[in-house]
C-alpha cells in the first residue's frame, strides 16, 4: 500500500504499458448487446475517465472488470497476460476493486468489518483478529483523512462517511486498479474536494484509476485520459489535454447538442396548481409556488436536494406535516396516488423499474392500470376498451413494440419510459410531474420525450419537470425553481436563467461541509 515512487509525469506515461486492458470485449443480454467489442486501457498513476450517456455500457464494463459478469468475447489483459475473472473474488485477488455508485456496504457490521470483509486478518486460531483489523482500519482512515471510529456500526454513519469507508475498503485490499463509479454523486462540495485529493494520493501511489462521471468539470479537473462509449461501442480515447468539452459531447451523443431541445411556444393560461407552505419533518420545508396552464416548470437541484421527496409528497406517497395544494382554486386533500389521480395530478417517477412500470406485465395492462374504471364496466374488465385506450396513447408517443401484450420489461429504456408516460396521459391529468424524464434513455427517445413534453404544454397541460441536467432544464422550462437541502432557494425566469446562476443557487454561495 505504501508504494514509494511518485506519479510519473504524463509525458513519460505514453511509453508506459497499461496495467489493465480490455481488448474487444463483447457482452450480450437477451435482446441487448451491452458491449460490442470495446477497448479500454488503464495506466499506472493515471486517471482514465470513462464517458458515455446512460446505457452506453459503462456499468457493464465495471461489472466485467470486477468479475460480476463474464464477457462473451474479447480478452481482459493484466500486465500483458490474459486473465479471467470468473467471480468477484478473482478480480479482488488480482487487485481490481470498485467503489460503487451507491456505497453498497453492510449496515449491521462495524466500519472495520466493512473495510476488511472477505480478507480480514486472522489470529493463529483462524479467528478474525479484531484488534489488528481495527488498527489497520484506523491507519487507512487516517491516511485518507477520515475522522471515523473503526468500531462503530455503519448504520450510524452519514452518507459521506460511508463513502469514505468504501474508499478505505478499496485501499485495504492493496488494489492496483481502482474503479470509481460516479463517486461524487452524493457528496457535498468540500467532500468532493477531499475526494479529489484522495485521487491524487492514489495516483501518486501508482494505482490505475477508472473514473466514471457525468460531470465534465470534474473530468477536466482530475482525469489524465478519456475513453468514450456510445450504445455499447467504443467511440474514441486519448489524452484530456488534447480535447475540448465540446469534442467529448460530440463523441458521446454523436450529434450536435442544440437539436435536443425543440421547445415550442405555448400559450400560458390561468393558474392551475398552487402549493402553499408544503413541509415535511425531515425532507423539505416551506415549498410555495404556482403553476399555470401550458407552463413547463423546471425543478433544478443537486441529487438529494429533496425534489423527488417533495413531488412524492404532493401525490400522497408521504404525508406533509403542513401545507396545502389547491387545484383550480379548490383545496384538494391528497392522501394517496389514487387521490392524486382524481385531483388531476400525476407523477412519472425517476425509478422506472420500481416505481414507474410493472415490468413483468404487458404494455396494455400497464397503460390502463390507473384508468381501470374508465375501461371497465361495474368492475369487470373489458379487454377491447383496454387495448383501444392503450393503443391511443402509445401511438401518440410513437412507441415501438412487437405487440401491446409484450411485457414492458422486454422494451428498451426509452420505450419503457414512453409506456409510463402514456399510462399517465391516459388518465387525462391537469398537471403532469416528470421526475428526471430522460435519465437512462437513448438520445432518440430523449428527443421524442422532449418534443412530446412541449406538445403537451402547447395543448394546455401543465408540466413540472424535475431534472439534474442543466441543458435540459434550460432548454425546456419556462420558469425554474432551485432547491437545496430541502428548501426552495430560488425561482428564476427569462434572463435570470443561466447555467451559472442555477449551479450557484443549487450549491449555495457558502460552500458547506458535512461533518458526518
Amino acid at each position: 500500500m505504501h508504494m514509494s515512487h511518485l506519479a510519473p509525469s504524463s509525458d513519460s506515461s505514453a511509453a508506459q504499458a497499461p496495467i489493465l486492458s480490455l481488448d474487444k470485449i463483447t457482452k450480450s443480454f437477451p435482446g441487448v448487446k451491452a458491449l460490442d467489442g470495446v477497448d479500454l486501457h488503464l495506466y499506472p498513476g493515471e486517471v482514465t475517465a470513462l464517458i458515455g450517456e446512460n446505457g452506453a455500457g459503462k456499468s457493464t464494463v465495471v461489472k466485467t472488470l470486477t468479475g460480476i459478469y463474464q464477457p462473451d468475447g474479447g480478452r481482459i489483459i493484466m500486465d500483458g497476460q490474459p486473465v479471467h475473472f470468473l467471480a468477484p473474488q478473482d478480480a479482488a485477488d488480482a487487485g481490481v476493486t470498485a467503489i460503487h455508485q451507491e456505497t453498497v456496504l453492510f449496515d449491521e457490521l462495524t466500519v472495520a468489518e466493512n473495510v476488511f470483509i472477505g480478507h480480514a486478518p486472522k489470529t493463529r486460531f483462524g479467528l478474525i483478529d479484531t484488534k489488528a483489523m481495527h488498527l489497520r482500519t484506523a491507519e487507512i482512515l487516517t491516511l485518507i483523512g477520515a475522522n471515523i471510529d473503526a468500531g462503530v456500526k455503519l448504520k450510524d454513519l452519514g452518507i459521506a462517511s460511508r463513502h469514505l469507508v468504501a474508499i478505505a475498503r478499496a485501499l485495504s485490499i492493496e488494489a492496483r486498479v481502482v474503479i470509481m463509479d460516479e463517486p461524487t454523486a452524493a457528496l457535498s462540495q468540500t467532500e468532493i474536494e477531499e475526494l479529489y485529493e484522495l485521487v491524487d494520493t492514489l495516483k501518486a501511489q501508482g494505482k490505475a484509476i477508472l473514473f466514471i462521471s457525468h460531470k465534465f468539470d470534474e473530468i477536466f479537473r482530475i482525469a489524465d485520459r478519456y475513453t468514450v462509449f456510445r450504445d455499447g461501442q467504443f467511440v474514441g480515447d486519448g489524452k484530456i489535454a488534447d480535447v475540448q468539452e465540446s469534442d467529448l459531447v460530440q463523441m458521446m451523443v454523436g450529434r450536435a447538442v442544440e437539436q435536443l431541445f425543440p421547445k415550442r411556444h405555448a400559450e400560458i393560461g390561468a393558474e392551475v396548481l398552487k402549493v402553499v407552505g408544503y413541509s415535511h419533518p425531515t425532507e423539505f420545508e416551506d415549498i410555495n409556488f404556482t403553476l399555470r396552464q401550458g407552463e413547463i416548470l423546471g425543478f433544478y437541484g443537486l441529487v438529494g436536494a429533496g425534489r423527488s421527496e417533495f413531488m412524492q409528497s404532493l401525490i400522497g406517497i408521504t404525508r406533509p406535516s403542513k401545507g396545502a395544494a389547491r387545484i383550480d382554486d379548490k383545496v384538494r386533500v391528497i392522501r394517496s396516488p389514487a387521490d392524486a389521480i382524481k385531483a388531476g395530478i400525476v407523477y412519472v417517477p425517476e425509478d422506472r423499474g420500481k416505481q414507474g412500470a410493472i415490468l413483468d406485465m404487458p404494455i396494455f395492462q400497464n397503460v390502463t392500470l390507473p384508468s381501470l374504471n374508465k375501461t371497465s364496466r361495474d368492475g369487470f374488465l373489458r379487454l377491447a376498451e383496454e387495448f383501444a385506450l392503450a393503443r391511443e396513447y402509445t401511438e401518440r408517443l410513437d412507441l415501438r413494440a412487437a405487440s401491446l401484450d409484450t411485457n414492458v420489461g422486454a422494451l428498451s429504456g426509452g420505450n419503457q419510459q414512453k409506456v409510463v408516460i402514456a399510462k399517465w396521459l391516459a388518465t387525462q391529468p391537469r398537471v403532469i410531474i416528470l421526475d428526471e424524464p430522460t435519465k437512462g434513455i437513448d438520445i432518440g427517445s430523449k428527443a421524442a420525450v422532449h418534443d412530446f413534453m412541449s406538445e403537451l404544454a402547447s395543448q394546455g397541460l401543465s408540466v413540472i419537470m424535475v431534472s439534474s441536467e442543466i441543458p435540459e432544464v434550460l432548454g425546456m422550462s419556462d420558469r425554474v425553481i432551485v432547491m437545496r437541502e430541502g428548501r426552495m432557494v430560488a425561482e428564476l425566469e427569462g434572463a435570470e436563467l443561466s447555467p451559472e446562476t442555477l449551479v450557484r443557487h443549487a450549491v449555495g454561495i457558502q460552500v458547506e461541509g458535512d461533518a458526518a
Partner: protein, 325 residues
C-alpha cells in the same frame, strides 16, 4: 444509553420482572436449583434457536428443524437399540453428521435450485416426519429398549447442572465466537444485510445460505439425540410444532425476519423468555394449554416491536432536522 434500549436489555428486564412476579407468590421458583432446572429445560430451544438465527440472518427460514430433530433422534434411538454398547461419543457424532446432512438437503435446494426456503423447508418438514414413519411403521421406541448410558448422558450432573444444560452453554459460546469472529459468521450477516453488496465483495450468497442451513441442521440433529435420550422415548411426532417455538425465540430475541440483524445473546434471551413463561405457567396455576396462545402473542408483539425499531429513518435532507434527530 443505546445499551439500555437494546433488545437484550429489554428482554433481560422482562425475564427479571417475570421471575420477580412469580417469586412474590412462589419464592421456590427463583431458587438457584429451580432456575438451573428451567435453564436445562429450555436448552433444546436455545440450541435450535441459535441455529435458526443463522438461517434467518441470511434471509431464509428453516421450518424443518423439529422434523430433523425427530428423524435424527429416531435414528439415534434405533442405532442404540441395534447396538446398545456403542459409546455416546459415536452417537453424538452420528447425530451431528446426520443433522448436518438433512440441513444440507435444505441448503442445496435453496442454493443450487433457488427454491424459496419456506417452500423447501415446509416440504422437507413433512418428508422427514414421513420417513420416520417409514422407518418405524409408526412404532415407538421406549425407555426400556434404550441402554442406560444412552439415556443417562444428557441427564448426568456436572457441577450442579445437567450435561444438556452444559451443551447449551458450549453451543452458545461457540456460536457467539463463530458469528462475531469468523469469516463465515460475518458473511452470514453481510448476506442478509445486503446480498447485492455481498456479491460485490466476493461473498457467494447461496453458499453462505447453504452453510447456515447446515449449521441449523447440525444443531437440530444434536438436539435430536439429546431430546430422545432425555425423554427416553422416540416416535413420529416428538417435538411436533416445535419449529414455531424456535422461530418465536428468534423473533422475540430481535432477529429481523428481513435478515442481517440479530444477535446470539438476543436469541438466547428470547428462548429463555419463552422457557421461563412455560415453566412458570403451571407454578402460578395457569393451564399449560395457555402456552401456545402466549407464544403466538409474543411472536406478534415482538415482530411489531422489531418493525418499529428497525423502521428505516429515511433520508434526512433538512439540516435542522438532522440535528434534531
Amino acid at each position: 444509553m443505546s445499551y439500555l434500549k437494546s433488545r437484550e436489555a429489554i428482554l433481560f428486564g422482562a425475564i427479571g420482572c417475570l421471575l420477580l412476579v412469580v417469586a412474590t407468590r412462589f419464592p421456590g421458583f427463583v431458587a438457584p436449583q429451580n432456575l438451573v432446572a428451567v435453564f436445562t429445560d429450555t436448552s433444546p430451544l436455545m440450541i435450535l434457536a441459535v441455529g435458526q438465527m443463522a438461517v434467518i440472518l441470511t434471509r431464509c427460514i428453516d421450518l424443518s428443524v423439529a422434523a430433523n430433530l425427530a428423524l435424527t433422534g429416531m435414528v439415534c434411538a434405533m442405532i442404540n437399540v441395534a447396538a446398545p454398547d456403542l459409546p455416546v461419543a459415536v452417537i453424538l457424532a452420528v447425530s451431528i453428521a446426520m443433522g448436518a446432512m438433512l440441513g444440507a438437503i435444505n441448503g442445496i435446494l435453496v442454493w443450487k435450485l433457488s427454491i424459496p426456503p419456506i417452500v423447501v423447508t415446509l416440504g422437507t418438514m413433512t418428508i422427514f416426519r414421513g420417513i420416520i414413519f417409514l422407518l418405524t411403521e409408526g412404532k415407538w421406541i421406549n425407555a426400556h429398549e434404550m441402554s442406560p448410558h444412552f439415556t443417562g448422558f444428557p441427564r448426568a450432573d456436572i457441577l450442579g447442572m445437567s450435561v444438556l444444560g452444559w451443551i447449551a452453554v458450549v453451543v452458545s459460546v461457540v456460536m457467539i465466537v463463530a458469528m462475531s469472529r469468523t469469516s463465515l459468521g460475518r458473511s452470514i450477516y453481510a448476506v442478509g444485510g445486503n446480498p447485492h453488496a455481498a456479491v460485490y465483495t466476493g461473498i457467494d450468497v447461496g453458499k453462505t445460505q447453504f452453510a447456515a442451513f447446515v449449521i441449523s441442521g447440525m444443531l437440530a440433529g444434536l438436539t435430536g439425540y439429546l431430546w430422545v435420550a432425555r425423554y427416553s422415548v422416540a416416535y413420529v411426532d416428538i417435538a411436533g410444532g416445535f419449529e414455531l417455538d424456535v422461530v418465536a425465540a428468534c423473533v422475540i430475541g430481535g432477529v429481523s425476519i428481513a435478515g442481517g440483524a440479530g444477535t446470539v445473546a438476543g436469541t438466547l434471551l428470547g428462548a429463555l423468555f419463552l422457557g421461563v413463561v412455560k415453566n412458570a405457567l403451571p407454578v402460578v396455576d395457569i393451564s399449560p394449554f395457555w402456552q401456545l396462545a402466549i407464544s403466538g402473542a409474543a411472536i406478534i408483539i415482538a415482530v411489531a416491536f422489531n418493525a418499529q425499531s428497525g423502521r428505516s429513518k429515511g433520508r434526512v435532507i433538512l439540516k435542522s432536522a438532522e440535528h434534531a434527530q
